[in-house]
Amino acid sequence: MGNFLSLFLQAALTPEVDALTAFLVAVSAFFTVLIFAAIFFFAVKYRRRSERELPEPVHGNLPLEIAWSVIPFGLTMIMFVWGADLFFRESRPPDNATQIYVVGKQWMWKLQHMDGHREINELHVPVGKPVKLTMTSEDVIHSFFVPAFRVKEDVVPGRYSTLWFTPTTPGKYHLFCAEYCGTNHSRMIGTIYVMNPEEYQTWVSGGAPMGSLAEEGGKLFESLACANCHHADGSGRCPTLVNVFGHQVELTGGNHVTADEAYIRESILQPNAKIVSGYQPIMPSFQGLVTEEGVVELIEYVKSLSPKPGMPSVTNGIAAGTVPHR
C-alpha cells in the first residue's frame, strides 16, 4: 500500500472532504449498528417458543413513525448543506489560480502551461499555489481525477469544464481518467508532481520547447490570417481584439456577454453564434482548421491583448440564457 498514507492532507480541500466523510460514516455507523443490534436482540428475545404461539397484533404508532421520519430527515439535511457548501467551493477556483489547459483524447492527457511548457500525462505544479484547469476533449468524454486532492470533473467534447486544487504537500500523485472512454481507459493515467518552489523553478527553467502560449497564439494569429482582418486599431470590418477579454461585449440584438474563454472559443469555432454589435457575420469558422490546443493558444493570445484580465464569467459551449436574437 505504498501511497496509502500519502492519500491524506494532500490538497487544501482534502481534509474538508475527509471531515465530511467522517460525519457520513458516523451517522451511517450509528444507524447500521442500531438496526443490526435491534434485529439481533429481537430475534433472540422473541424467538418462537411454541408452534401455537400467537403474539398480540400491534397496528402501529404515530409518534414513532414521525420520530423515525423526522430525525433521519434532519440528519440528511445536515449532509445536504454541508455537502453543497463544500461542492460550491470545489467548483469555484480562486481568482489568483494559475491557469493550465488540459485536452483529453483517447487515451492521453495533454497539458499546456501558460509559459508554453507542454506535458503529456504529467503535470508539474508548485506546492501551495492554487491551480485552475480549463479542460476539453477532442473525442469522447473523459474525467480528470486526482484522488489525493479529492477532485474530479468530466472533460467533455465541445465545451470547457473547470477543475481546481491547491496542493499542500510535495510528492507524486495519481492522475486517473475516471469516465469510461474506450479500450485503454485504464491506461489513460498519469502523475501529478507537486514540487517545492525551488525544485519547480529548476523544472521550469529546464526550458520551454516553444514560446509561451500567448506567443504561440500570436504566431497562429498570423498564420491563420486572423491578423488580416483584426487590426489592433479596429479599422476595417472587424472589431479590434484589444481589451476584449474579460470585458462586456455588446451583441447584435442588444444582449451582452462577458468575454471569457468559452466565448473566445466559440467566436473562433462558431463565429456566427454571437455577433458583435455593429459588425457583419463575415468571420469564417475555424472549426477543423485549428486543434483544441491551437484554440487554447489563440485564447491566451487574445487574453494577452487585455492587460488586466477581468474575472472570467458566463457561458460554456451549450450555454445559458444568452440566446442570440436578431
Binding site: M1, G2, N3, V17, T21, V27, S28, T32, I35, I39, F42, A43, Y46, R47, R48, R49, L54, P55, E56, P57, V58, H59, G60, W68, S69, P72, M79, F80, W82, G83, A84, D85, L86, F87, E90, Q106, D139, V140, I141, S143, P147, V151, K152, E153, D154, P157, G158, R159, S161, F176, C177, A178, E179, Y180, N184, H185, S186, R187, I318, A320
Partner: protein, 541 residues
C-alpha cells in the same frame, strides 16, 4: 416426476402436458415459471461475466484478458444483470405468480399480453446474446454518447435493440399489473387489505410504465445517430452529450427502484409471516412504496454531479435525493419494529429477510454519501459506487428474490426445499457477499476508478480480497440452484400453508389449481390477521 399422492388432484402443472401447453400458455403461473427459467439462465450468464471480471482483477497488470475483452465483460455483465435479470426478476416471476392469487383473481387482466411480455423478453435476450456472440459490446451499461454513437466499434445497435425490446416486456408487465390491481380484486379485497407485496408491485408498475418509454426513445435516438449517421447528441454539430445523460438517467434512476421495491414487498411478507405479526405501520409501509415510486423520478441528476451539469441543478437533485431516502428509512424501521414482541422463527426465508435489511441499510446509507455533493465529487466513478449498488442490488434485491423464492417454493412446486442446505447457503451468500463488496468501499475511497482493466499495484490487496469473496459467493449461489432442482423430485410434499402465513395464496392448494381458487374467495379481514390461521390448525412442514 410427481408422486401419486399429488397427481390425484389436478393443478396448474399437470392440467396439460407438452411443450406447446407451456409455450402457448396464458396461465400466469406457467408464464411465471417460463420467466423463472429464463432469468436464471441470464443470471448465470451475467455471473460468468462477473467471474471473468473478478479473475482479471486479481492482478494489477491485466494479464488474463485483453482490455477490449475486459470492457466487454463489465458492459455485458451490467446489461445482462440489470435488463435481463434483475428488472424482470421479482415482478415477472414472483409477481406474476402471486399478484393475481394474492388479490383473489383468476389471472392477470390481460393473459395474452402477459405471454407476449415473456416472448418480448426472450426476443430481446436473443438480440443481446447474438450481440455477445458476434463480438460483444463495450460501452458500459450506461451507453454514454459520443462513445456509443461514434467511437465504439462493437455491437452497440444489436444490444440496443435487445434492450429496447426487453423494455417493452417490462412496460407490458407493469401495465398488466396496474390494471389487474385496479379491476380484478376479489370481493372484499379493499386497497388497505392488500398484502404489502401487492402494494410494492403496484408502485413498481407505475415506474415501469412512466419511466421505461423514455429509455426506449433514448435508445431510438442513439440508434438513429449511430445507424443513420445523423447527429442528435453529437457535439461536433452542437449536440449536447449531457442531454443524453439526462434522458438515460430519467429512466435509470427510477429503474433502481424497479429493482428494489419488489424486494421490499417480499421482505414485508417474510418479516410478517415469520414473526406472526401484522406489519408494524402497514399504511406507512404501503404509502412509502408509492412515495419512493414518485419521488424516485425527481432525483436522476445525482448521477451527473461532475458531468458539467450546472451546479445549481446539482444542488436541487442532491436535495431531492434525500427525500427519497426517508420512505426507505420508514420501511426499515417498521420492519424492525414488527419483530418487537413477535414470534420469530428462523426458516431460510427469514434469514434472507434479515440479510436484506442489514445489507440494504448499508447500501442505502452509502447512497446518502453519494447524494452528498461534496463527497460524490471524490468517489463518483470509483469502486465506492460499485460497492454501493452491489450492496443494494446483490445484497438487497437478490436476497429479497431468493428469500421470496424459498418462501413460495412450496406453493409453486408443491415441494419443500431442504432446510439445512438452504440455511447453509444463505449463510455462505451473506459472508461471501460482504467479503466481495466491502473492500470495494475502501478501494473507491482510495481512488480506484471503476471500469479499469489494469490498476496501480497498491490496490491489489483489496482486489484480491474481493475476488476471494466472489468465489465464496459463487458457491453460495450455486447451492440453491442444485438443491432446488433436487427438491422438485425428492423434496418433502408441501401442505397448503407450511408457514402459517395469511395471504390468500396460502388458502388454496399447493400447487394451486389452474384458476387459482376452487371458488372466488371473499375477503373479510385485513392482511396479516394471524388469529385466523394460527387459531385453527397449523400445518407445519
Amino acid at each position: 416426476m410427481i408422486t401419486a399422492a399429488v397427481q390425484e388432484r389436478e393443478h396448474y402443472l399437470n392440467e396439460s402436458y407438452g411443450l406447446k401447453s407451456w409455450l402457448l400458455t396464458k396461465d400466469h403461473k406457467r408464464i411465471a415459471l417460463l420467466y423463472l427459467f429464463t432469468i436464471t439462465l441470464f443470471f448465470a450468464v451475467g455471473g460468468v461475466f462477473a467471474t471473468v471480471i473478478r479473475i482479471e482483477l486479481i492482478t494489477p497488470s491485466g494479464n488474463f484478458v485483453s482490455s477490449e475483452t475486459y470492457n466487454k465483460m463489465f458492459t455485458m455483465h451490467g446489461i445482462v444483470m440489470i435488463f435481463f435479470f434483475l428488472i424482470p426478476s421479482i415482478p415477472a416471476v414472483l409477481g406474476n405468480f402471486f399478484l393475481p392469487i394474492m388479490i383473489g383473481a383468476r389471472d392477470l387482466a390481460f393473459p395474452k399480453i402477459n405471454l407476449l411480455s415473456w416472448y418480448l423478453l426472450v426476443a430481446g435476450g436473443l438480440f443481446a446474446i447474438f450481440a455477445m456472440l458476434a463480438g460483444g459490446v463495450d460501452t458500459g451499461w450506461t451507453f454514454y454518447v459520443p462513445y456509443s454513437t461514434g467511437y465504439s466499434n462493437t455491437w452497440v445497435i444489436a444490444t440496443a435493440i435487445g434492450i429496447f425490446i426487453a423494455g417493452f416486456s417490462s412496460i407490458l408487465t407493469g401495465l398488466n399489473f396496474i390494471i389487474t390491481v385496479h379491476t380484478m380484486r376479489a370481493p372484499g379485497m379493499t386497497w388497505f387489505r392488500m398484502p404489502l407485496f401487492v402494494w410494492s408491485q403496484y408502485a413498481t408498475a407505475l415506474i415501469q410504465v412512466l419511466g421505461t418509454p423514455v429509455l426506449a426513445v433514448t435508445i431510438v435516438l442513439v440508434f438513429c445517430e449511430r445507424f443513420f449517421h445523423i447527429g442528435i447528441f453529437d457535439p461536433a454539430l452542437g449536440g449536447d452529450p449531457v442531454l443524453f445523460q439526462h434522458l438515460f438517467w430519467f429512466y435509470s434512476h427510477p429503474a433502481v427502484y424497479i429493482m428494489i421495491l419488489p424486494a421490499m414487498g417480499v421482505i414485508s411478507e417474510l418479516i410478517s409471516t415469520f414473526s406472526r405479526k401484522r406489519v408494524f405501520g402497514y399504511e406507512f409501509v404501503a404509502f412509502s412504496s408509492l412515495a419512493i415510486a414518485i419521488l424516485g423520478f425527481l432525483v436522476w441528476g445525482h448521477h451527473l454531479f461532475v458531468s458539467t451539469q450546472s451546479i445549481y441543478a446539482g444542488m436541487i437533485f442532491s436535495f431531492l435525493s434525500y427525500f427519497v431516502a426517508i420512505p426507505s428509512a420508514i420501511k426499515v424501521f417498521n420492519w424492525t419494529a414488527t419483530l418487537y414482541k413477535g414470534s420469530i422463527s428462523y426458516e431460510t426465508p427469514m434469514l434472507y429477510a434479515f440479510g436484506f435489511i442489514g445489507l440494504f441499510t448499508i447500501g442505502g446509507l452509502t447512497g446518502l454519501f453519494l447524494a452528498c455533493l461534496g463527497f460524490d465529487v471524490h468517489v463518483t466513478d470509483t469502486y465506492f459506487v460499485v460497492a454501493h449498488f452491489h450492496y443494494i442490488m446483490v445484497g438487497g434485491a437478490i436476497m429479497g428474490y431468493l428469500g421470496g423464492l424459498h418462501f413460495w417454493w412450496p406453493k409453486m412446486t408443491g415441494r419443500m426445499y431442504p432446510e439445512g442446505w438452504a440455511k447453509l447457503s444463505a449463510l455462505i451468500i451473506f459472508l461471501g457477499f460482504n467479503l466481495t463488496f466491502f473492500p470495494q468501499f475502501i478501494l473507491g475511497y482510495l481512488g480506484m476508478p471503476r471500469r479499469y482493466h489494469t490498476y496501480p499495484a497498491e490496490f491489489q490487496v483489496l482486489h484480491v480480497l474481493s475476488s476471494a469473496g466472489a468465489s465464496v459467493l459463487a458457491v453460495g449461489y450455486l447451492l440453491p440452484f442444485i438443491y432446488l432442482m433436487w427438491s422438485l423430485k425428492y423434496g418433502q410434499i408441501a401442505g397448503a400453508n407450511p408457514w402459517g402465513a395469511t395471504g390468500l395464496e396460502w388458502q388454496t392448494a399447493s400447487p394451486p389449481p389452474k384458476h387459482n381458487f376452487e371458488k372466488t374467495p371473499i375477503v373479510t379481514h385485513e392482511a396479516y390477521d394471524y388469529s385466523a390461521v394460527i387459531g385453527s390448525e397449523v400445518e407445519v412442514g
